[in-house]
């Protein structure tokens, strides 16, 4: 016991750290997509009922509720359907702000996904812009979206609004 009986403040907060460990699996269909990334390709799956191609597929067609069974190799380019410019720093962020975050509809796919756009000033991005994936060096490819460094303009003319408006 200390002589200088410094009065402790009453307890008002309680630290309760929680740490849990899991063995995570993305499942069969997503593993195929991720293995595709490991080879520098986008692998989607087609629903046999509605014919739509999902990339990545989580194993089912979200509207029909049936397994997506047919593997479909997609192109390396796609169209920016919409986008935003991120100006806010947040925990876990690895890219210098500001940067462009876009919904990209890969050629041959029926669903867009979110991707990073680089090699263009943030004020020049447009809806409809044609972009292509830039991959990490072959030695660094992993079964992860980290294998895609970013997307960049591929030089083609912008896609017509009518061609992608149903994907907004």
């Amino acid at each position: 016991m200390s002589d200088e009986t410094t009065e402790l403040a009453p307890v008002t907060t309680l630290a309760t750290p929680i740490r849990l460990d899991f063995d995570f699996t993305p499942g069969i269909a997503q593993s195929k997509f991720l293995r595709g990334l490991e080879h520098g390709t986008f692998m989607g799956q087609r629903c046999a009922t509605c014919g739509k191609v999902y990339v990545p597929s989580r194993g089912s067609c979200p509207t029909d509720g049936v397994p997506t069974t047919e593997d479909v190799l997609l192109g390396n380019s796609g169209t920016v359907t919409t986008y935003c410019v991120v100006n806010v720093p947040f925990a876990g962020q690895s890219i210098e702000i500001p940067y462009i975050c876009a919904q990209i509809l890969l050629d041959g796919a029926n669903l867009s996904f979110m991707g990073l756009i680089q090699e263009i000033p943030t004020d020049q991005i447009r809806m409809g812009m044609r972009v292509e994936a830039v991959w990490v060096d072959e030695a660094d490819l992993t079964p992860s979206l980290a294998s895609v460094r970013y997307f960049r303009p591929n030089g083609e003319d912008d896609a017509d609004y009518e061609t992608y408006k149903e994907y907004l």
Binding site: T13, I18, L20, D23, S31
Partner: protein, 152 residues
């Protein structure tokens, strides 16, 4: 063929939650840090330990806080011969429901004893607190209960 294999990876879910205690839990933990136990008076006059803002049966607001313990009796217990990594003791111990002297409900904590033979329902135990310098205002300020008479 590696390419057909389903992927797996370790996933760690981790966050350092920080909780505000409110007045009743805060008072209990403050007293615990001082090496004392507080209970709250429930709607029918029963003394509830550990105290919550509400009676555990009727949900009415609790009344005054009163001091209880530090001795009490074991109402039930369970012997852990192989502690889990997150358990508060890494040598064999007992989880126990201990009704402190002056309390009408039992507190969940641990009994520190060398063997299960030293633990029994109905047996008297007393609190063993951590050294004052190590107390932070949490349930872990109470190291555990020990059989009265000092068998541990």
């Amino acid at each position: 063929m590696a390419d057909s294999e389903v992927l797996h990876a370790a996933h760690r879910l981790e966050y350092p939650y920080s909780r505000s205690t409110g007045p009743i839990i805060g008072a209990f933990l403050t007293a615990l840090r001082d090496g004392r136990f507080l209970g709250a008076t429930g709607s029918d006059g029963r003394v509830i330990v550990p105290p919550t803002e509400y009676d555990p049966i009727t949900s009415d607001d609790v009344g005054d806080l009163v001091e209880v313990g530090p001795g009490g009796i074991i109402e039930s217990w369970a012997w852990v011969s192989e502690p889990l990594r997150k358990h508060p003791h890494q040598t064999p111990f007992a989880w126990a429901l201990v009704r402190l002297d002056g309390a009408d409900t039992a507190l969940l904590h641990t009994v520190i004893a060398p063997t299960p033979d030293a633990v029994a329902t109905g047996a008297r135990v007393t609190a063993r607190f951590r050294p004052e310098s190590e107390r932070i205002g949490s349930m872990a300020d109470l190291e555990g209960f020990v059989p009265e008479g000092g068998a541990a």
